[in-house]
Amino acid sequence: MLHSLQQHRERYAGVLIALIGLGAIAESATYGLGTLAAIGPGAFPLAMGVILVVCGLGIGLSEAQTTDAHDHDRVDLSRPEWRGWGCIIGGMLAFLLLARTVGLFPATFACVFTAAMGDRTTTLPGACILATVIAAFGCALFYYGLHIQLPPFVWGMS
């Protein structure tokens, strides 16, 4: 699937934009368009949806131009980074789930540790040390320094 994504990049890009446009049109149709003199809440998003659909079609049909040499920041998908992606997303989810329930320190540790494991060259102790340092620094700076409403540790059930 990733290979096909790279091969027909413009086609997928066009479809994505056109779908977002269609979604905007469908949603804004329920908001009420108003008249030109008193424009309703639906008119502007409807117009944006139409432009998106037009752009989407334009992008999708421009397949011929995709192989331009200047495209040097093209994302390379020949080696999919499932591990890296999973760990970054997982790290953020860990923070999201743990910050309120167990506290800022463990949440930060889990977040940094999980994310660090996404790199192939990371070692287990290396990730542990990094996570501990960042968690300690983060609590000091953000809880004690900037008074963010997330205590470092939440004791007991709440």
């Binding site: 030109l36 008193a38 424009i39 944006m48 752009c55 421009s62 994302v75 890296g84 990094l130």
Partner: protein, 508 residues
């Protein structure tokens, strides 16, 4: 006229040199520089990660710190581009072309020295321009009606989306997506909740910090994980390497002047930010040069001109951002949003209502640029060490700062989830060859565009001809038409003549 500007400027220096404000500027420049040097961290990431730190500060200090972060990060990014061949911010893409070959020849220090000189020169020119142009622009802007503002925004949006990197169609799609995202939440005119999908947290709209951190933080981490190579030695720069030789200075003098001019011209056109300025400056140098074959193999002119153009256009970009409230690129859009968070609306009234902010900011530019020179000369050794920090330590730490930063904007974990979703979506956009920067531009302008359009229609009782009947609005629309037709012409001619060697401005 000049007299009042000078008194105002003196007042500005008074504001900028107050201890708290000076400290804010200093901390901003230092933090920005540190984050900017780190490989894989661009200007956008630096500003959006550090933005939450300024929420608790008074407005003047906050905006001084943010602009300090901005040019600190921009200079840091130049270091990263020249020594590592890793452009983290679009304007630096051309700097790499000659900056990295210079590093390979052991002249990286000289390139950095010239960058610093050129940057300072370009920025100073931009600041002077801002002092004299902004009040003039304000006087004109006070005459603008809603229809004129609409046409001006349209011009800025069109320029911003079609002149940037990549295909114009994709740029317009991204800008439109930004405009659409901008109106999520409660409609100010009717009180109707739009695109909230039943989530009460979305009633206030998409959080700009979440959007910026998602697009420029999370999406970049997903893109760069396991892909950023560690520094392979060779780039040791010492203090005395940074002093350019007389020969280098002589070679760079004219490119710096030309870069300044190109940069300030680009900044006068709304929507054309530093990226275009740096590309045009590089292309111009190559065209003028008697030895164009040296370019790409370590020509010092190829570093001097685009870096100078970037700095002068950045300062110039503050003019429409501050006096009209219309940002030129994504960075300006983010700074504008930061001001709005502080309860200050940039626009024609900013200079008269908040002279402290406006003149203090201008004065702080100079203070900040001098600080930047003062910091970078002795600290260059530390920056080079920072470059060697492996990415495996950087992105997990940055991820934490993203989480806590976006949480602190509204003390809500919902925003963390929002950032994650935006980040994954942003990575998908990167894979599909989109450049997400115009999203931010559209996002900031979206609600104001809609509001002004509605107001214009209300005033004209639904008569669309108001946009061409009002002379100011008609003039903006004419420029927009010329812009589009001109691009179509260039494209058509290039296709006809089959010369791939044209200036790389459009497709960058």
């Amino acid at each position: 006229m000049i007299g009042t500007a000078l008194t105002d400027l003196a007042h500005g220096f008074g504001v900028a040199l107050q201890p708290t404000n000076f400290l804010a500027c200093f901390v901003g420049v230092l933090l920005g520089n540190i984050v900017g040097v780190l490989p894989g961290m661009g200007v956008m990431a630096a500003i959006s990660i550090l933005l939450p730190l300024t929420f608790a500060m008074p407005p003047v200090a906050a905006i001084l710190m943010l602009s300090g972060i901005f040019y600190g990060a921009q200079y840091g990014g130049a270091i990263c581009s020249i020594l590592l061949n890793l452009p983290c911010h679009p304007p630096h893409a051309v700097t790499c072309l000659d900056g990295y070959p210079l590093t390979q020849q052991g002249k990286g220090g000289t390139a950095l020295g010239i960058t610093m000189l050129g940057g300072f020169f370009g920025a100073s020119f931009g600041i002077v321009m801002m002092i004299f142009f902004a009040p003039l622009l304000v006087r004109a802007a006070l005459k603008f009606g809603p229809a004129d503002v609409c046409s001006l925004m349209l011009l800025g949006l069109l320029a911003g989306s079609t002149l940037a990197r990549g295909s114009a169609m994709k740029g317009i799609a991204m800008t439109t997506l930004g405009l659409l995202l901008g109106i999520f939440g409660t409609d100010v005119t009717s009180g109707y909740e739009r695109f909230t999908f039943g989530l009460p947290e979305l009633a206030d709209g998409v959080e700009i910090v979440a959007l910026a951190l998602g697009l420029f933080g999370i999406a970049e981490f997903l893109k760069s994980v396991n892909k950023v190579e560690p520094l392979r030695g060779g780039a040791s720069v010492r203090l005395r390497d940074m002093r350019p030789s007389r020969e280098d200075l002589k070679r760079s003098a004219m490119p710096i002047l030309r870069g300044t001019l190109i940069g300030s011209l680009c900044s006068l056109i709304p929507g054309t930010g530093p990226t275009i300025a740096s590309f045009v400056a590089y292309a111009a140098e190559k065209k003028i040069s008697r030895t164009p074959e040296r370019f790409g193999r370590g020509a010092i002119e190829g570093v001097a001109a685009p870096e100078t153009a970037t700095h002068s256009s950045v300062q110039g970009d503050f003019i429409p951002t501050m006096s009209l409230g219309i940002p030129g690129d994504a960075v300006m859009a983010l700074l504008l949003a930061a001001l709005t968070i502080q309860g200050i609306t940039p626009g024609p009234l900013l200079i008269s209502q908040h002279p402290d902010i406006f003149w203090g900011l201008i004065a702080s530019f100079w203070v900040g640029n001098i600080l930047l020179m003062g910091l970078n000369i002795p600290l260059i050794g530390i920056w080079v060490k920072l470059l060697t920090i492996p990415y495996r330590y950087l992105y997990p730490s940055a991820l934490f700062f993203v989480c806590i930063g976006v949480y602190s904007t509204s003390s809500s974990l919902f925003q963390v989830g929002e950032t994650l979703v935006i980040g994954i979506f942003g990575y998908l956009l990167l894979i599909l060859g989109f450049h997400p920067a115009p999203i931010l531009l559209g996002f900031v302008l979206g609600p104001r565009f809609e509001e002004n359009f509605r107001r214009a229609m209300l005033l004209s009782q639904g008569d669309l001809t108001v946009f061409v009947e009002r002379p100011i609005s008609a003039a903006f629309l004419a420029v927009a038409a010329i812009l589009i037709l001109g691009q179509l012409y260039v494209r058509w001619r290039r296709r006809g003549a089959l010369v791939p060697d044209g200036p790389v401005v459009m497709e960058g």
